[in-house]
């Protein structure tokens, strides 16, 4: 009887203790992506190489000054445009190379942020953005959150992606970075370490912020402040050549954009144009519009190589998809001068609260039978 009593008493103490342990196990406070090479807690594989993947070299056991432990991950980006894309990036996927065609996502419910440490080899290297989730496919991620651009320093610095309030119940793309040639024309070497999800109950969800003005689409080739990517080639896209680093008499700064439209009708459309999108190639399939409500006008400078080149339309907004731009505004047709001239798209009364397509132009062969070369510079939204 006494023995039974002792057992019962012991159970009385033990049961709550076990329950607490189970509760702790159910609510971990962190989930590691990378600590050290071969660390047992690591999750996801940096296997999703994108864009100019031939430009990237990765060393996931760089012993040169890791942030903690014995190794960090070194990325060497040559910016040679091996696949002629102008951008590149790496996704950490589970299992390796799973772009959502099979189940592999983790339930990270309870985590409220992703943190990582990064440094550049020299300082000044630019990561255009980092991202959590965002993998589509048959088994799509339940969230897509991004942060950036980040200009690295030559010393370790911690960065945070706020995930509070996001549905993290299925995340197959644990982490991703991407950048462009324009932001790193000479390439970049940088290091990443200690990537992990963390549960911080005090962190509040980040509201959609109204972007401050001026909001640049293009200032200079290497400007971190540039937004949107000239990725939406339309019509006779084979007729187009984009040079975002032209030094042919830039209006301001070192470079301007040189557009060459051959007018050959490569795809038989007899017209062509480019949309600046965010992220690249987003035709409304990704929920990522900027809130540009503070803007009352979009201004840009333009000139023709000869003068007389006719652009049918300059435009902001108007991307239509599952996530459509909230409005659009245009000017045109415009006959370009040989000298730089500033043009303005009036946005008063327009709803610029959700914009994926930051800028666009289109021209046709009927009005440019010999094609057209023209230049653009200082494209920005202003208050």
């Amino acid at each position: 009887m006494k023995k039974l009593l002792v057992v019962a008493l012991a159970l009385n103490f033990l049961v709550p203790a076990i329950a607490v342990a189970e509760e702790k196990a159910a609510c971990p406070t962190e989930f590691v992506v990378y600590l050290d090479k071969n660390a047992k807690d690591n999750h996801y594989i940096p296997s999703g190489w994108m864009g100019d993947y031939g430009d990237i070299k990765m060393n996931d056991q760089a012993a040169d000054n890791p942030h903690s432990g014995k190794t960090s991950i070194q990325f060497m980006y040559s910016a040679k445009k091996s696949q002629n894309q102008g951008w590149t990036g790496v996704y950490w996927l589970n299992p390796a190379n799973n772009w959502g065609n099979k189940k592999g996502g983790y339930d990270l419910t309870g985590m409220t942020k992703l943190t990582f440490w990064a440094r550049g080899a020299k300082g000044g290297e630019v990561i255009q953005k980092v991202m959590v989730g965002g993998v589509n496919g048959t088994y799509p991620d339940t969230a897509s959150v991004e942060m950036g651009p980040i200009e690295l320093t030559d010393t370790w610095k911690q960065y945070t992606v706020n995930l509070a309030g996001k549905d993290l119940s299925y995340i197959n793309g644990g982490f991703n970075w991407s950048t462009t040639v324009d932001l790193n024309p000479e390439g970049a070497t940088f290091y990443i370490d200690d990537i992990k999800f963390e549960a911080d109950p005090d962190l509040k969800p980040e509201g959609k912020k109204q972007e401050a003005m001026p909001f640049y689409i293009y200032a200079d080739r290497t400007t971190v402040a540039n937004h949107f990517i000239p990725s939406g080639y339309m019509g006779d896209y084979g007729d187009l050549r984009y040079d975002g680093a032209s030094k042919d008499d830039a209006y301001l700064g070192d470079t301007c954009i040189k557009m060459t439209y051959s007018g050959k009708g490569s795809q038989g459309a007899r017209w062509a144009g480019i949309f600046w999108q965010y992220p690249a190639n987003n035709w409304g399939g990704v929920d990522s519009g900027f809130d540009l409500s503070k803007a009352t006008k979009l201004t840009f400078w333009a000139r023709g190589a000869k003068g007389g080149e006719r652009i049918e339309e300059f435009k902001i907004g108007g991307v239509m998809g599952e996530f459509s731009d909230s409005d659009s505004a245009t000017i045109g047709p415009v006959l370009l001068n040989k000298e730089w001239m500033q043009y303005t798209i009036d946005l008063k009364g327009k709803d610029m609260s959700y914009i994926i397509g930051g800028f666009a132009w289109s021209a046709n062969v009927d009005n440019n039978p010999d094609g057209a070369i023209f230049y653009l510079d200082e494209i920005k939204l202003e208050e």
Binding site: G284, V319, E322, S326, I331, G332, P333, G349, K350
Partner: protein, 432 residues
């Protein structure tokens, strides 16, 4: 009998009372008569909160409509359905009424006024369905509509006013819609036209503005003339998207509403607010909708069409008058369209009119379920019907070489019907 003084007094008082009692009914009758008279007809009412609504014979009216062009399988747009002995509108009207449709939109009337009257009357008398009558304003003239030419303008205007004079007294007529997407011709995108004056201007932006001024002033002129002969029906300006309406604001203030053609997928976006800022007139969604063919999976997908249409109707209702969440400037819509039209993809090849073409004719990312189709070509012009066409009905009289095609309501028919019965406006989801 002599009256006592008391009675006299009462009599005097009674005389006043009886005068009042005699007068009040008369005044009441006059008041009711004048009230009834003021309530007759169709007009736009602007409310104190700056919202708009359509009033029909004194009551608010939400346009729950369809675009109607019942071309049988195997025939094309030249087919004279107005004289079809099967009277397709009788069969269609019954189905429409059951669905909740109260309005059809006809793009153009027909040469035979009696046949036009018959269609309008049958739909109205049998099913209570009203009709918007339209005119293309010479848009399909070859080689182009010469809106800058006075003779052309006079010809078109005469034609429109004849239509108004012929049908303005039909109780089933709801109003007039001038043009469809004619504004695009001012940009030179389709049916480009010019004039000597325009040609002299070298700046293409100014050319566009000049053409817009000519076109919208012309429509305004017609609208004013219509109001003179028919004050009882509103006049709508057919317009592709909101393109050019900043010029309409300047030159076309005499139209009563804008009849917009909009294909923006599940949402109309900022359309209603944007219109309020640009051209503060009520809006009828005169053409909108979705096809039901998945160009990516290459099969019919009625769920896709139903999803888009339900979402679009939610937006329409959200922006009706007195809904605080919307712009309050929408008066309803006529969705595109009642039946499939099998001739549309290759209008010049009669052989293809007998089969329902599955090749897409254009691309629109707003209809995102099948945008991954080859070359992003996802819009299937022959599959927009709320009802599909099937083998002819057994007892139908042969017309145009065949009987009346069977009407097969698609899922959208039932989904929109349910929505109209119980219009709950909640945020639309992203799934079919």
């Amino acid at each position: 009998m002599r009256l006592s003084s008391k009675n006299k007094n009462r009599g005097k008082a009674g005389g006043r009372v009886s005068f009042v009692w005699r007068t009040v009914p008369l005044l009441l009758f006059i008041f009711i008569l004048s009230a009834c008279q003021s309530k007759q007809g169709v007009y736009i009412q602007k409310l104190k909160n700056q919202h708009y609504r359509l009033i029909v014979n004194g009551s608010p009216y939400i346009v729950k409509g369809v675009c109607y062009n019942p071309i049988p399988r195997g025939l094309n747009h030249e087919y004279d359905w107005w004289s079809d002995p099967n009277k397709p509108w009788i069969v269609d009207g019954k189905l429409m009424k059951e669905m909740g449709v109260n309005t059809i939109r006809l793009y153009q009337t027909h040469d035979n006024p009696e046949e036009v009257r018959q269609v309008i009357r049958d739909l109205y008398n049998l099913y209570g369905i009203r009709t918007f009558l339209g005119d293309w304003l010479g848009f399909w003239e070859y080689p182009c509509p010469f809106y800058g030419d006075k003779k052309f303008q006079d010809k078109v205007k005469r034609q429109v006013l004849e239509m108004v004079a012929l049908y303005k007294d039909e109780p089933g007529v709801l109003g007039w819609i001038l043009g469809n997407e004619n504004n695009y011709s001012c940009l030179g995108h389709v049916k480009p036209w010019s004039s000597e004056e325009v040609d002299q201007e070298l700046d293409p932006q100014k050319q566009k503005a000049m053409r817009a001024k000519i076109y919208y002033s012309f429509v305004n002129d017609i609208s004013k003339e219509i109001h003179k002969i028919d004050p009882k029906h509103p006049v709508g300006l057919g317009n592709g998207e909101l393109v050019g309406l900043e010029y309409a604001n300047e030159f076309c203030q005499d139209v009563d509403f804008v009849a917009c053609i909009i294909y923006r997928g599940k949402t109309f976006g900022n359309l209603f607010k944007s219109l309020k800022m640009t051209f503060d007139k009520p809006i009828l969604l005169a053409e909108f909708g979705a096809d039901c063919y998945d160009a990516y999976l290459k099969k019919e997908d009625q769920n896709m069409q139903a999803f888009f249409l339900e979402s679009q109707w939610k937006q329409i209702y959200k922006n009706l008058a007195n809904n605080k969440e919307g712009a309050g400037n929408c008066i309803g819509g006529t969705m595109f369209e009642w039946t499939d039209e099998w001739w549309k993809h290759t209008p010049d090849n009669p052989e293809t009119w007998k089969i329902q073409d599955t090749e897409s004719g254009w691309s629109n990312g707003s209809y995102y379920f099948d945008i991954r189709a080859q070359n992003n070509m996802n819009m299937n012009e022959e599959w927009f019907g709320i009802v599909a066409l099937g083998e002819p009905l057994e007892n139908a009289t042969p017309a145009g070489g065949q009987g009346l095609d069977k009407r097969i309501p698609r899922k959208a028919y039932y989904v929109v019907k349910e929505f109209w019965k119980n219009p709950v406006i909640k945020k639309s989801g992203g799934k079919k």
